[in-house]
Assembly symmetry: none
Homo-oligomer: 94 residues x 4
DNA sequence: GAACTTATGTCGGTGC
DNA sequence: GCACCGACATAAGTTC
């Protein structure tokens, strides 16, 4: 059994048992792992900022909501508003 | 603005402003809401069982894995196991 | 190694290899699986209602939003509105 | 209503209505938003690597499992494997 | 490719 | 004070 289409790429040869590491796969995995570390770093930074905000008295939960709201494109936010109105009307909610 | 293509079905007439409630829509929504409540109930039951299992010493996370594994068709499970082993081997993970 | 605190409950005895099934664990798993099937049933019902609604011309996506909105307790919805206003003010958005 | 305990810090004064922008809050939010953008960038990179892997024939789902496994400390991994095997055995799953 | 479901991690609250 | 618990938030996987 081979992994992917890799046989013949010279990456390994498990018939002889000499080379058992699939370098292509390994490199891809390592690139992902590097990126995951970056991600972790950024996540830590975000957490720090929230901690700092909390320390000076802001409400973190509300801040998260704010960030989320600002992330929505204005159009989406408007559409959401519109849907709400339509639903209220159709279901008889004032 | 109407919801769906329903105008003319006699459900409401917002031109005259006499009937503003779309009963058909309301009923559909209510059926869904009833079902959603059932869902919530079942979810709570599941949580309870896991809590009970934990209380007598089982590892909940592993139990979830077991449930997932049992849900898969045996062939798929075997195949998945095999591929995973192959990749682990290819990366030199014991 | 034992699973949980179960040894001594007579559930199994892997020293003799006579009884290898942990009935307690099995029963818990089976209860979960039964509940999961119920869940699947209810999910299917929900899907059906949406299909029916779609068939008579309603917009399923919008209906889902409606259900979600109605699920929020009025207070929460009001609070969310309030947060939005507060944030707009505090950040100088008209 | 103020956000946080900030009044008196000179950031704004909503009694007079002269200054309505809470700069401290705004700056914190902006720092978070910048970090969120970085996060998005990294996430896109990760997705790209998986796409590349898929394009040359690797099984992305399994690769994710591998990444997850490698993230665990070797001891934890071994322990988890072991527990899982134990449970499978206890349930008679080959 | 969008949306729903499931899984995991984090956080604030609460009991021992 | 520490540990569990529920709520919330994010990420991953699955389905249509």
């Amino acid at each position: 059994m081979t992994i992917g289409h890799n046989s013949g790429h010279g990456d390994f040869d498990d018939e002889n048992g000499i080379e058992v590491t699939d370098d292509r796969l390994r490199l891809l995995i390592e690139r992902i792992e590097t990126l995951e570390e970056e991600k972790k770093g950024v996540n830590d930074d975000v957490r720090e900022v929230y901690a700092e905000a909390k320390a000076v008295g802001y409400d973190v939960k509300i801040m998260r909501q704010i960030v989320r709201l600002r992330k929505m494109k204005p159009d989406d936010r408007r559409e959401q508003d519109l849907v709400l109105e339509t639903y209220r009307a159709a279901l008889g909610m004032v």
